[in-house]
Amino acid sequence: MIYTIKSPALLIIGILMLVWGGLNTSGALDGVQSYLQKSAYGNHMTVKAKFDFEARAATEIAAAEGKPAPAVMKMPASSFDAAKADQARIVNMFGGTFLLIGLFTLLWKPKQGDLDYFISVVPGIAFILLIVVVVRWVLDPIFGNLGRAVQDAGILSWNFARIFNLNHIVLGILAGIIAANVFKIPAWAGNGVRTARLGLKTGVILLGTLYSAKELAQLGVLSVVMIGIFVLGSVWLVLIMGKRMQCTNSMTGVLSAGIGVCGVSAAVAAAPVVKATAEEIAYTIGTVLIWGVGCMFLFPTVGHLLEMGPVQFGAWAGTGILNSAQVAGAALAFDPNGIETLKVAEIFNITRVLFLPLIVLWLAAWYMKHEVGAEKINLTQVVISKFPLFVLGFIGMFAMSTMGVFAPADHYQGKYFSSAEVKQDKLLSGKALRALDGELTRLRGAEDAQVLSKFLVEKTVVIESHRVTSEEVYKAFVELIANKKMMTRDQSYILFAVSKMEGLDPGAKGAIDNAKKAAEFDSKVITAYRDWLVWLFGFGLVGLGMQITGKSLKQAGGMPLIIGGTVGTVKAVGSLIVVMLFVKEFI
């Protein structure tokens, strides 16, 4: 079979991307971009105003001193310039590649084999990427602006774009659904859109770089407890309900894996063990999809209404939603600009996937016991063959990251503390130092010392299980005044906590904020990993949308849908109650 379809589509996508990059670089799109990137454009105007003021002042001073006007300076880059340059870099890289491969495809006579197969994948990748780019850079900001405008105009008292999560993740999934169901996936892209799951798995493995050992230990314990209860509980409930409702053992078995563990993959993994038919697998996949898609859109809205934090929402989505891709979709829909919720949700998801061999083992034993004439199965082989390799990749990536292979271990949150890198012009001024000195004297006074002591206890200002004392606060103040900058992360943490005290002098508060900011730096490597993650998950989730078709949803029905819906609801509501009652934010 020859897979490559001769079509100019890939070439056209490449050209479109290069045109977008070129227009951005030349500034021809500045008018449009100023609407799409309002916040960055605001920063641009501030930088420009400051630059114009300084240039004018320099000219006037030179004129007053009878010197020639200074040479024209270059305006510093604003975040608007950086965003445009980023867009141009990305589309030029992909656009150039697609253009070259598109030309090659048109000129080449394909022969059956690996080259034909993998070349035929590229147009589908380009098709998804084009959707991701349009959604992320055009539709997401348009909906964001509309949501704010409608609220500001008083038409609605709430931001509809925020409440309905109309961000690039949800819009990307919707774009995928529309592309597959309304317009149909074009034949030239059909082979390549099947790479979406590969994008998601690559993203999950790469996510391993963004956890600290402490975070993983905390989340790991929580996830094992919650997943243990809810996954095993829902598998058990499906087995009980299946028997009561007189479903076949094979149908009950495959449905329990789908509803209990991780959706489609679990159903496919468990199917041979319980001898499920193609029809039973289709019923399960339909049930998982119809339930999971509803959850993916509903969970983020409920999360916002209940004002959940990243740990709470991540724990709930990772436990309550059935399918791995849908967990990522819900987490990113809830928090599209940060990676914290995704990090928590994926730990739960990975824990759930790790339960898969165990569940398959359980179902094998259950099936052998309940099905008359069932063949014996090699249980060890079942465990080895069903173990998901990408989870090992995630663990390996985390281990290397913890050892500081990719970036120093304390960079994992994207920001790091460095006293040595504080620039000379960021050292505290005399006015700021005097404000700090005044506050130190005040806080040492008998009455205020008591207030400080009470504040430290009430706000549980703690460093590594040790409660911070007033003496440590005084020492942090003294060191900041002496060095004009923060010297250690702990000092920065203590003073930042104290800066929240009521009645603190605004000058001292500002000095602490500035000193803290001056010693915090962005980790370029971790920021780049975060960018890659957003692209990989965005790519995978648009592809996920393309798999949600009317035909696949119609597969659900009858008893499996009733059982799946009931157990899914119990799991979602039960995990929500547990999360709200017992899970606290700690990230």
Binding site: V121, R194, T195, L198, K201, P388, G393, V405, V525, Q547
Partner: protein, 40 residues
């Protein structure tokens, strides 16, 4: 998805097995991790 049939892989993946897809994802993820580390 389109109604195309594929001799290789499934309707969800271009790979013949989950293991192969996992392995490819592993290679890509490490390539990105080291690529970023060396170039940024």
């Amino acid at each position: 998805m389109s109604k195309q049939n594929f001799e290789r892989g499934s309707s969800l993946s271009i790979f013949v097995s989950d293991r192969r897809e996992d392995l490819t994802a592993l290679i890509f993820a490490f390539a990105i991790a080291f690529g970023v580390m060396l170039t940024v």
